[in-house]
């Protein structure tokens, strides 16, 4: 089976996010007053696996080995069936 995988990579709670604070300050320049701005990186791909659990396990490995840095990142994985 083929599965669509989506990995959302975010900074751990409490970590400084300079990109988000810059965006928030830029929005303020346009007179939009917003709070709690955050940025999330999304990586999407399709992979072949026996079932959704196997697919998820493989994506977890990818996160641990390359996609995320465990010192600063949290990640969320979504797996959807893509058909045969």
């Amino acid at each position: 089976m083929k599965y669509h995988a989506q990995v959302e990579i975010s900074l751990k709670k409490g970590m400084l996010n300079p990109e988000a604070s810059t965006i928030q300050r830029a929005l303020a320049l346009l007179d939009y007053q917003v709070e709690d701005t955050a940025t999330i990186e999304i990586v999407k791909f399709t992979l072949e696996a026996e079932d959704p659990d196997v697919a998820r396990e493989e994506v977890v490995q990818m996160c641990e080995r390359l996609l995320c840095n465990p010192v600063i990142h949290d990640y969320q994985i979504q797996i959807e069936t893509a058909g045969d």
Partner: protein, 216 residues
């Protein structure tokens, strides 16, 4: 002494490091990212640059290339390894030094001279300096803010190599801008000693980093 300089697509301080190593009296040679056998070298330097375009995170992709296996072997053989700037980010991504160098506090690229404090001189690269000596070397990075969850351990285990002496331009934890492994043989520093290796460059304070390898 033969010293290997690792080249990735996007490395750009390789030739500067080559020149500085020659000035120090070493015999440098280049090594590509896909070479696994580094046994001919007595020490390794990973130079700065933008390996793999800094995609994903600075150093993340270089950290999984075959040459890293060779570097781990060098570490096992107790030979010194120095990562400068992008090289430091790579060593942190591999986990050969603790913590991470991430986006600067003000999300901008900083390129300027910095006053630095040598916080430990037990490493091959800093043993020619006095402990707490203040030296001048340039920094040039967007992802140089040091962060670790284990700051107390780092301090207790004498793993902090360099700190900013004056202001802390990138917001690094405890103004740290260079760390080493437990043994002190693997060093990761954000400032560029090779860009401060001749007085004509504005400072030759960095040359001892390379001279230090030779007689450790």
């Amino acid at each position: 002494m033969k010293v290997g300089i690792i080249r990735f697509p996007g490395s750009n301080c390789d030739r500067d490091v080559f020149h500085a190593l020659e000035l120090a009296g070493a015999e440098p040679d280049y090594v590509w990212w896909n070479q696994r056998d580094l046994s001919q070298f007595e020490a390794i330097v990973i130079p700065g640059g933008f390996s793999y375009g800094d995609y994903l995170r600075a150093g993340a992709i270089a950290a999984i290339t075959p040459v890293i296996d060779g570097i781990k072997e060098i570490v096992k053989q107790e030979k010194p390894v120095l990562g400068i700037c992008n090289g430091a980010q790579i060593l942190a991504e591999v986990g050969l030094v603790p913590g991470v160098f991430t986006l600067n506090e003000k999300a901008q690229f900083i390129c300027e001279w910095a006053e630095l404090e040598v916080r430990t001189n037990r490493t091959p690269f800093t043993h020619l300096y006095q402990k707490n000596e203040v030296i001048k070397m340039p920094i040039a990075h967007a992802e140089g803010r040091y962060y670790t969850e284990y700051i107390d351990e780092l301090s207790d285990q004498d793993q902090i190599v360099l700190g900013f002496a004056g202001n802390n331009p990138n917001g690094s934890l405890d103004a740290i801008t260079g760390v080493c492994d437990l043994e002190g043989r693997v060093c990761a520093v954000m400032p560029h000693p090779e860009r401060a290796s001749e007085s004509i460059l504005g400072s030759d304070d960095g040359l001892k980093f390379f001279k230090g390898i030779l007689d450790f």
